[in-house]
């Protein structure tokens, strides 16, 4: 650069955009104008090919014939990819092997990829993919958790967490109960389906655009299937149209297949799944079956718990080890378990491999214990809220250690619940609902307050690291890059706010650039709610390095003490002098000060000894609670959610608007999981709910008519997180459990709360009706 850009000498204002402000999403203006580019929107090279997979049509069987002649002859078809064409590794299992990129000999689920065709148009590729002549020797398929468990068919070994002698505690407790509950899976239904665009590069390299939460894993797997070094592959993700865990590992296959065809044809290749195939061929939230025996006293206090959690994993391990572990880590929710025996089983079925979904097993574990609490309440005749309160963790009486040995250090749940109980008018409403139900033979109301305590950190320790890259240019503008991906959750906005605060510049001067493996390498998935905790800290580190260099330079150049160089409001004071940020940057550039820095962060304090099933897997916990009120029609099973009150802990919020959005959206998604979202498989193992018409995610009319959301005020994180904020991605999903409990509560009123309803999730109107009918029958007998 020969001459420097002219910079305006700005008045001391702002900076706009520091943490704590309810700023709009950094891409909002592009979202509303239609300019925001998603993977399928990239301008592809003119000779781009469209790839489409041919999928299996049995759940379990031997592939005996795959005749692709008519596929090859179909109009527009340029090439076909089969397993034999893969030059490198053929298994793309993210942690353990088990996910062949295409079927070799054995089909293990309906919808498994057999081959991929590349054609000149999307339409031609899709049509051609259906022309294959395929024959199978069909084998018996295990489709349910019970079938898999009966054969002890597991994708990974079981894990056990123990405290004390649960068996003895249950035996000696005044009251005992046992039961079981099932929760269904959940389709992510990210509105943007899986999509990738791969463009061949020189040296045999590949440039990959993909809608993925884990660019680094995509890079690694594309390199492995191509048989080339990771350094020859670059993966770029600017944004996703929703992900929710469904694009953590399940985006990889489509990027790999597109890359393989791009390599084979020498042309750019795009692969976008149609919705029905996306729903058939990609994994979902694990369905679970839980069996429990619990010992407790007449005050509702738990003495001992024996809980077996079995997750339906589908055909391969994928992330199921960590998911079932997280279910086990959340089987206590907010309750102290004096003696516990928690087992977690990873059951294999001949269905698509289930995967990460917001909460990652946590919701399933939490639903199990909340059902137990409800069961205890019916048995003791206590209000369920009272049972909950009596079992909360507390600092006193040694009731502050989890069943996996982590000490609870911030006791927020009791005060948070008390605040919500008051603000929602819980007790008065409980009273009036009881009166309403006595006088209403058909319509019954239900009310429930449920807490959430959710552990923050990846339970796989090494994933708790992040990198960032910041460039400052000589006009004072800044480029920010980090390993986190943007899926709508506002991560880019929050991280930019952190940098704006550190450098005391306006948010507008910071450009968030697309997440790219050649900018920040070896990144972790954007998952486990840890996006802003990890990347915010890494970006802060990078910003601080540049700031420190600028301070050292200014102090030396103007002969003042470093302590007298101060960044504020887009300006820098150097002793008595004052410059705009850009002016100082230009002076530093001319004096050959580097204006680019990488940043890094790794979460402290965390570890888990899996052999001893003990440790501190979580840096901290995020808390929340919700009160839901519902009305059910006991003759049809139909219901409405009337009112929801939420109080949620995000520490000191980095961006209250973003955080409230996460709380509201997470709650509704959790409510959907437990109410209307039902996955139905046929007896042949084929998913029958393959579109948005048969699989019902909440629409606007399903949301509560009265919805009040508050972030817990004055509650900074006690740990040294970025500006003492807390993670918010996953925890609010579990607030949706309050809707399921309220439905259960309304059903229980049919038998005047003397009997405990049996209600599996999702509590569809059909299940609600069946539960009412069952309760009436039991009440009469």
């Amino acid at each position: 650069m020969r001459s420097l850009p002219s910079v305006s000498v700005r008045e001391a204002t702002g900076p706009t955009g520091s943490p704590g402000q309810p700023l709009k999403h950094e891409s909002a203006h592009k979202h509303v104008s239609g300019e925001a580019i998603y993977t399928d929107d990239h301008v592809a090279p003119p000779d781009v090919l469209h790839a489409y997979p041919g999928l299996s049509s049995v759940a379990h069987g031997k592939l005996v014939k795959l005749d692709l002649e008519s596929v090859r002859r179909a109009p527009g078809v340029i090439d076909i990819l089969t397993l034999a064409d893969v030059p490198g590794q053929t298994d793309i299992g993210p942690v353990y092997p088990g996910d062949p990129i295409m079927v070799n000999e054995r089909v293990e689920f309906w919808g498994q990829v057999l081959f991929v065709v590349a054609a000149t148009s999307y339409d031609s590729a899709r049509r051609a993919a259906r022309l294959a002549v395929v024959e199978y020797d069909t084998l018996p398929a295990d489709l349910t958790i019970e079938q898999g468990l009966a054969k002890q068919s597991l994708v990974r070994p079981s894990h056990i967490q123990r405290r004390g002698d649960a068996e003895c505690a249950i035996r000696e407790a005044p009251l005992t109960l046992e039961g079981e509950i099932r929760s269904g899976g959940q389709e992510h239904m990210y509105l943007e389906g899986q999509a990738s665009l791969c463009i061949p590069q020189e040296d045999g390299g590949m440039y990959v655009y993909t809608s993925s939460q884990h660019p680094t894993e995509g890079q690694k797997l594309v390199a492995q299937v191509l048989g080339i070094a990771m350094g020859l592959v670059t993966v770029e993700v600017r944004r996703m149209g929703g992900a929710f865990g469904g694009k953590e590992t399940h985006a990889n296959q489509w990027a790999c297949l597109a890359a393989l065809l791009a390599r084979k044809t020498g042309r750019a290749v795009k692969l976008r799944l149609a919705r029905a195939d996306d729903m058939t061929a990609t994994g979902k939230r694990h369905h679970f079956m839980s069996k429990y025996r619990v010992g407790f006293d007449r005050n509702g206090q738990i003495h001992g718990l024996d809980l077996s959690l079995s997750g339906g994993c589908g055909m391969s391990p994928d992330l199921s080890d960590a998911i079932v572990d997280r279910a086990m880590f959340h089987a206590d929710n907010a309750y102290f378990l004096p003696a516990a025996h928690i087992e977690g089983h990873r059951v294999k079925t001949h269905t698509v491999s289930n995967t990460a979904f917001r909460g990652f097993g946590g919701p399933q574990g939490m639903l199990a214990i909340e059902n137990i609490i409800e069961h205890i309440a019916t048995t003791t005749g206590l209000d369920a809220l009272e049972v909950r309160k009596r079992n909360f963790y507390r600092a006193e009486d040694g009731r502050d250690i989890t069943h996996y040995g982590q000490k609870i250090e911030q006791h927020l749940i009791a005060p948070l619940v008390e605040r919500l109980e008051r603000s929602s008018g819980y007790q008065q409403r409980r009273q009036s609902i009881q009166e309403f139900n006595v006088g209403s033979p058909v319509l019954k109301r239900g009310l429930s307050l449920t807490p959430v305590k959710f552990g923050i950190s990846f339970t796989v320790q090494h994933l708790n690291q992040a990198g960032a890259l910041i460039h400052v240019y000589t006009d004072g503008s800044i480029q920010l890059n980090h390993g986190g991906t943007e899926m709508g959750q506002g991560l880019y906005t929050k991280v930019a706010q952190v940098v704006a605060q550190e450098l005391q510049v306006d948010l507008e001067s910071i450009t968030c650039t697309a997440t790219r493996t050649d900018k920040v390498p070896n990144t972790s998935p954007t998952a486990a709610s840890a996006g802003s905790d990890l990347n915010g800290m890494a970006a802060r580190d990078a910003a601080n390095k540049i700031k420190t260099r600028l301070i050292e330079f200014a102090a030396g150049h103007f002969g003042v003490a470093a302590g007298r160089v101060r960044f504020h409001s887009n300006r820098v004071s150097v002793g008595e002098r004052e410059f705009s940020f850009a002016e100082l940057v230009q002076m530093a550039y001319v004096q050959r000060i580097p204006l680019s820095a990488t940043g890094y962060y790794s979460t402290p304090k965390i570890y888990y000894d899996r052999d001893k099933a003990s440790g501190r897997p979580f840096y901290y916990f995020a808390y929340g609670a919700a009160v839901s009120e519902v009305v059910i029609d006991t003759l049809t099973g139909e219901y409405k959610v009337l009112r929801v009150d939420i109080c949620h802990d995000v520490g000191r919020s980095l961006n209250p608007a973003v955080d409230i959005g996460q709380v509201e959206g997470g709650f509704v998604q959790g409510m959907g999981w437990l109410t209307t979202e039902e996955l139905v498989w046929g007896k042949d193992g084929r998913l029958e709910t393959t579109n948005a018409a048969s699989y019902k995610i909440p629409a606007v009319g399903d949301t509560p008519a009265d919805f009040r959301v508050e972030l817990l005020p004055d509650s900074p994180n006690v740990e040294a997180t970025v500006f003492h904020s807390k993670a918010v991605g996953e925890p609010p999903l579990m607030l949706g459990i309050s809707v399921w409990c309220a439905l259960r509560n309304a059903i229980a009123s049919v038998a005047s709360h003397r009997l405990s309803p049996v209600l599996d999730a999702p509590a569809t109107p059909e299940r609600v009706l069946n539960a009412c009918t069952d309760l009436r029958r039991r009440d009469c007998s």
Binding site: G34, S70, R130, G661, A693
Partner: protein, 166 residues
């Protein structure tokens, strides 16, 4: 699996006015309107979500009506006036709905936003002072997986207020 072999069919000449500008193209009869907008005209603000007209990410306005462009053929729009999200803003700036969705956090991932805006614009043309119920009814065919809808409802109200005051 056996199906009839796909055949290329003769192209049909059509003329569609999109965001005030007339386009003449030759298209295959089976080309969907959403494909026409995205591929022929590169108007990628209209998104493909579910392929089956349920999710509403592809909502556009066809002669004023909010419709799903994934279940209409381009040839069905021959001679019609189509409005997409790219046509909402004017030289004076963003449409009040665009401003409101942006400022009131009526979006997260942004994928449903263009369709949501088109449905909401049809609503406000018809009912300038909508109730919550009106809004819920008119965006019932647009699903959002991120926001939980509260801020979307707020955004539509805010835009309605601004439009009424203008």
């Amino acid at each position: 699996m056996s199906e009839t072999k796909p055949e290329f069919v003769e192209a049909v000449d059509i003329e569609i006015t999109v965001n005030g500008k007339s386009y003449q193209r030759s298209v295959e009869p089976r080309m969907l309107l959403v494909e026409f907008l995205r591929e022929e005209l590169r108007l990628t603000g209209t998104h493909i979500g579910c392929d089956t007209s349920y999710c509403g990410a592809c909502t556009i306005r066809l002669d004023g009506d909010a419709v799903k462009s994934c279940t209409l053929f381009a040839v069905q729009a021959d001679g019609a006036k189509v409005a997409t999200v790219e046509g909402l803003a004017t030289e004076a700036g963003l449409h009040p709905l665009q401003k409101a969705f942006s400022e009131h956090h009526g979006l997260q991932c942004g994928y449903c936003t263009p369709g949501m805006l088109m449905s909401a614009s049809a609503l406000l043309d018809e009912i300038p002072n909508p109730s919550d119920k009106d809004i819920k009814k008119r965006i019932a065919g647009n699903v959002c997986r991120c926001t939980g809808y509260q801020n979307i409802i707020k955004s539509v109200h805010a835009a309605a207020n601004e439009l009424r005051e203008a």
